[in-house]
């Protein structure tokens, strides 16, 4: 198993060519920035900027949602897309929010991303200084830091990567890196079962506590590939569906409405969980709906965008528990 950094040179070369040839006007990838443990999305617009691009297991932020910023603009945008990101691309395609022709997708096979917060905590504790490079060696991650090479085990994987079954992007124009077999832990929804085991009163208290921390920053919505409405219901003024007030009622209105709006369309990328500044376990909420949809409609991979989606169609043999 080799890491994504293996393809860095090839990536830079291809982006340089694509920009120089005018095949794309922008390429969205990653660069190392102020915090080297947290590479940030980088928008290259000139061939010379391709040198700044990097790709490794710390490159987490999803790129496809940025396509909405280019809505209505001429030309092609290049995108660096990992497995999870490719589901986001499919989401936007199936929701008719982007044109396939407006994207040039460079896919990269990913064997799992590092949990930056966990890595950073250890780096600070042990004084590793800046990280320059991340490699994969077998099951381990090797970080080349200012304090030398540091090895991290699979326990530093992001939670969402443990059960990932989409290591190779499902959609791309060219693929960098070798194909890797999906060796995922089973999607057992254990964290959902924990919530289901609570009494209704406990469950209510649990979510009220979570939502009461919400600052209504809308980061979860803004990062979500399934939240792609032209005018979000929460931004409509007439009628006003969501008050700006941040009491329990409005918070529940926001979070439950959003969860139901993305039900059946959530690709389980986990970006909502990552961006929430106050640790609201939003992915848990989405996965409860995913689990139910999977069970009720007999769908094996309810996170995969499909031609016909369970909540987007009607069949006479749909389950009807209220009969």
């Amino acid at each position: 198993m080799s890491g994504m950094n293996q393809v860095t040179d090839r990536l830079r070369e291809r982006v340089r060519e694509l920009l120089a040839d005018g095949k794309i006007h922008t390429f969205i990838g990653y660069e190392r920035a102020w915090d080297p443990y947290r590479p940030i999305p980088f928008f290259a617009t000139e061939a010379g900027e391709a040198e700044r691009l990097i790709i490794d297991e710390l490159c987490v932020p999803s790129t496809p949602k940025y396509m909405l910023d280019f809505f209505g603009r001429e030309g092609v945008v290049g995108l660096l897309v990992k497995g999870c990101d490719s589901l986001a691309v499919e989401r936007l395609l199936r929701d008719h929010r982007v044109e396939r022709e407006s994207m040039y997708i460079i896919g990269v096979a990913c064997t799992g991303l590092l949990d930056r917060d966990k890595v950073k905590a250890r780096a600070l504790e042990e004084g590793w200084g800046a990280v320059e490079e991340v490699r994969r060696e077998g099951d381990a991650f090797v970080l080349v830091t200012a304090a030398g090479e540091k090895e991290l085990g699979p326990e530093y994987l992001m939670e969402r990567c443990r059960t990932c079954e989409v290591k190779v992007p499902t959609v791309y124009d060219e693929l960098l890196g070798e194909e890797v077999a999906a060796t995922a832990e089973p999607r057992d929804f254990a964290e959902v079962a924990e919530i289901e085991a609570m009494t209704p009163a406990e469950r209510r208290a649990y979510w009220e506590r979570q939502f009461s921390r919400c600052i209504r920053c809308f980061a979860c919505r803004n990062v979500c590939p399934a939240c792609n409405c032209r005018i979000c219901v929460f931004e409509e003024r007439v009628p006003r569906w969501l008050g700006r007030k941040t009491d329990v009622g409005e918070q529940e209105m926001f979070h439950f409405t959003r969860a139901l709006h993305v039900a059946g369309r959530c690709v389980d990328c986990g970006e909502c969980d990552r961006v929430c500044p106050v640790n609201i376990p939003l992915r848990k909420l989405n996965r409860k709906l995913m689990k139910d949809i999977g069970e009720l409609f007999g769908i094996e991979k309810p996170f995969m965008p499909a031609e016909t989606e369970p909540l987007g169609q009607f069949r006479p043999d749909d389950p009807d528990e209220f009969e």
Binding site: W34, P61, R244, K245
Partner: protein
Amino acid sequence: MIYRTLKRESMAVLVDRLKEGGLVAPVREDGVVVFRPIQGDREVASDYINPTNSVKDVFLPQTESLFRFNTAEKGLEIEATPPEGPKYVLGVRPCDAAALELLDHVFAEGQYTDSYYQRRRAEVTVIGVACDQVGESCFCTAFGLSPGHRRGADVMMYRLDDESYLVAFEGERGHRLAEEYPDLFGEAPAEETIEAVVTSYQSREVPAGRVELDGITEKLDGMFEHPLWAKLAARCLKCGICTYLCPTCHCFCLDDEALGYEGVRYRCWDSCMYPDYTLMAGGHNPRPEKANRTRQRFMHKLNYFVHNHGEFQCVGCGRCVDKCPVGLHMLAVIYDIKGVDSDGGQ
């Protein structure tokens, strides 16, 4: 200024007493530390760099009722809803305390003052705890502050040794607290000890705070149309994390919640990072692009506020640095501004 000592075990007693008057303090909850009202046996967190939300939440709550109205009889009846809240806020870091004095420029000074804000400032005692740990995102020293500064705080606690704190009480509210609980606070240590402890905190090194800000305001004077803004803004998610967690961002909007003839007018936070923040009736938006809004945020903090109030509108608390999901934060942008040729903007 009065100095006293407080035994570590007396801290719990102090918390219990302050609770009766209404206390907000940091608590650990689901993996984050946040300022919360302290009720019952809720434990106050001690081992944290800075709570995720800021002390602003106490003085400028995210949602605040201003008045009730009734239009059924006599045309219009209005009844003010006086501000409610705690009497004490504990565990405030020096950066957050200093931020209150920046908010004062906006809400408590000049021609237009805000009675709700002013009343809270007059009534709430700010009890700070100097920083034993410096976070890697902390950069308070860039703004003339330090892990031991007292600006904006009524009380500041410094760790004296393993058993006790050195407590500094300042101004009317600070002195009142010292007088209220004489049994809790011990005699001040020797003057040299006080001096040594306070200096050790105030001279503590803050690595990210070494960033040099000289001349940045003047440079920004000429950068309104600079292409840097579009380059920076490209990665912005248009979320409100930076502005809502910021202890100095203070924009709000007014809204009514009405049913029939009766209702409440409340104020709630708003963010210049939101596309609808500047949306006018009629549909025109003077800041239609992400680049316009990103520029606004950094210009306000590093330029407009300096011109209007004589100092930067940032205290280097590091929340935006820690929490921006795409690294579009104050430190990164300061370095980017310093790194570009300002001529690009004219």
